[in-house]
Amino acid sequence: MSMGEVKLFFGPNHPGMHGNFSVHMYVEGDVVVKARPVPGFLHRGFEKLMERRLWYQNVALIPRICVPEPDINEACYAMAVEKIAKVEVPERATWIRMLVLELARIANHLWSFGGIGGPIGMYTSMFWSVSDRDKVLDIFEELTGARIYHMYIIPGGVRKDLPTGLEEKISKLMDYLEQRMSEYETFILKNRILHTRLKGIAKIDTETCLKLGVTGIGLRATGIPYDIRKVDPYMFYDKVEFDVPTATEGDAYARISLKPQEIKQSIRIIRQILEKMPSGPVNIKISDGNGLRIRVPKGMAYAKVESTRGEYGYLVVSDGGETPYRVAVRGASYPQGLYGVEHLLPGTRIDDVPIWLDSMGVCAPEIDR
């Protein structure tokens, strides 16, 4: 190492870092020469732990693989188990699942929208979106009994039906959020700080995205309308109308500005869900017996959903026993969190590193698993 090159640690203990993740930066001046992602601070061996826990017990463990958006874990796991067990989930349960996933998408977009306020020093965006996110969490609390780790979607359906009067509260919230989104656009997205700090920063092009495996907003901001809800619809996403917003610049600003647009689409979907949701049972047993003795037949299945950060998937293998034989998680931020940091950060400035991590949505536990 030459005298001019300095090694700096960004995270895990850093106010600009989201989660327990670290980037070792080798810098010359304030330009990053080499960046090494250092994951593992949140490695709790989720995948291995799941092999030791009953099929049903895993529902309490997996939400922890992605803290801000736990429901995708539950949904992927449940969908994979149902595929193996060849169980048809009741229609109402599927609609409720979609509702939960869309609410979670809104909550997580608001959360990361707030997150960008930290590294660029525009705290208004953080205050606004975090307080709006709390309103979504209130809905979750009424629906699932908890605010963050819902543990609500189970193999076979969901745990409980909607409480009375919740539909009304949700549609009120949707009206409120829709109005807020236009305020966000005028007040935050047109803000000078945001433009100066995000335009042309943390750029990625389509080719690199595809090479690294980046999906989600990262890919859509380069002009590719790739959304699993559209290209390979799961649940009833083929029965609802929505658009896939895209941008062409591929920079941090393009990605951030896509978020309010996606929230608007989610609001549109939720309104359709509330309209189309039939009444009926909300779960079905996936096998004989009580919760301790649920068994899933031999088999293997992969289930994926579109998370806020891209394709999120669970590969579940069963040998017919009391516990899964193997579970593998495709964390959506794996490509941008590891390869992206290594390949695309060199050449940028130190203060642009957190912008990459935030706008691409790097979520540490889903990399560590």
Binding site: Y56, Q57, A60, R159, E183, K190, S287, D288, N290
Partner: protein, 616 residues
Amino acid sequence: MAEKSFFAPLIAWKNIFEKPVTIKIPKEKREAAPRYRGFHVNNWEKCIGCGTCAKICPTDAITMVEVPDMKQEYGMKPQRPAIDYGRCSFCAMCVDICTTGSLQMTREYIFVSDNPEDFYYVPTEKGILRKEPSEIKIGWTREAENDLLDLERVVPEHLPAEERLNSFVEFVKVYSKQQAIAEAARCVECGICTDRCPEHMQIPQYIKAIWKDDLKDALKWLLKGVEEQNNFGANPLSGVCGRVCTHRCEEVCAISHRGEAIAIRWLKRYITDSIPTEMWHEIVKFNTPKKNKKIAIVGSGPAGLSAAYFLATMGYDVDIYEALNRPGGVMRYGIPRYRLPDEALDKDIAFIESLGVRIITGVAVGKDISFEELRSKYDVIFISTGLTLGRSTKIPGADHPDVVQALPLLREIRDYLRGEGPEPKIAKRVVVIGGGNVAMDIARSVARLQKMKFGQVNVIVTCLERTHEEMPADMEEIEEAIEEGVKIYPGWGPKEVIFYPNEDKIKGLKCVKCTEVFDENKRFNPKFDETEICYYDGDMIIEAIGQAPDYSYLPDEWKSKIQFVGSRILTNNIRQTQIPWLFAGGDIVNGPDIIHGVADGYWAARGIDEYLREQK
């Protein structure tokens, strides 16, 4: 640079007039949602300490702790769940699976303490905040849609009542493999059944083995029990008990609090019926060296066979003396064939015999061989002769030949069905006196014979107990008897046998209303209302009001040394009488059913072994 109005930032100003989104704790309080998953409360009146919450807990936050001064009763464990809030993930699975519904979650979520021990907490009705139960708001509860238990029993195939009346064929079919596994999957392995079973059979273990489709392991649990603890919990009469056990275990089953108990009895039968006898030896092996001691067992009923089995596994030389022509006692001659076919009994006895037990049938001790001779030939004698004499109501007219005892008639019916005896005399109209299982057995047997002979059933059962629930017979038996056309009239006491005028032929039975069966001390002391009278028509009356032991084979010399409690022999806990070499068990000591007999046999075998070791 984006187009931006100079006034755009002003929209933020509207927030100046709004309340802050945060709240000031503890001044302001925020109510949690109605189904919030907060701290637990546990109703100790309802909780049975089954530990299912601890088993489902994904984070191992729940442990079962022994509670001192806990009332000890069947169907309950002296433990209660303790929750470590350092581990709890508030998933509420414990609430969803709670067998009694005692565990609930509240809407409370703030608890502050400077003592870390406080976060390890045994929930009571008062909750972690020590509030009055009425002040606590319940959050997440279990409803039908999030119930984690499987409450409905898998019912084995049954013959319908009309069909089963036409023969003595066993009418409950054995579970299929799929059914058995589905039924076994309902078990939560709490072991409350094991505590209740007189023999302490290892029920959760063999049910789990069925669930894992490991029948060999299941059979080992049945016949060997806990091998390291002198085969504790084994039952050599598993095939019999799998059919006719009084299943006390099912009465206390944790699932029975909210649903139907696990069909423990049918599952046991599934194990023994699914493995052919030839394979039992390959699966269950005993390698105990032979001991040079001889033991005689008088009576080949459940207690005698069980004692013989356990003694044989300990290496003793065992001979069983049986007065009748076939071994099995009450199982062979008392229980009707439609409940316990001979083949099932033979299977169990064959396995016991294969361990080297000799069964000498047709030899009555006291008649064909004297008790003294036995005493001289054997080191220890175990008597288990059961209750063989029927009790009579002693009402006027009860000495008529058409007023018969249930037990001898049951024996005749079984001999007849085996082709070993003449057809028993059965009348077209029969009245049975008694409300126990023997009354049900004879009523249902007679109903079958009537249907086969006369084409229709006409059996009346009358008993002192005033309701079906009060009757000592199993509810299942009563229900099935009614299905088969037996008419049951509870709450009547027999008064007199009525005859046709000037004829020696029974016309019926005169009864008076029974107002009370037990007095305040719960002793049998019936009271009657003599003004309310009722007549039951019948050509034949069968008395099934209880049995008594017959000790005529015991020489007076020994009899005088034995202590009796009523008609029962008093023994110590290893079933040893006051004569050190004389052990006793079964109905003459404890009763009242097969499984108690098996348990007596086990403890007697342990006692005999202990006694003989001391003799060396």
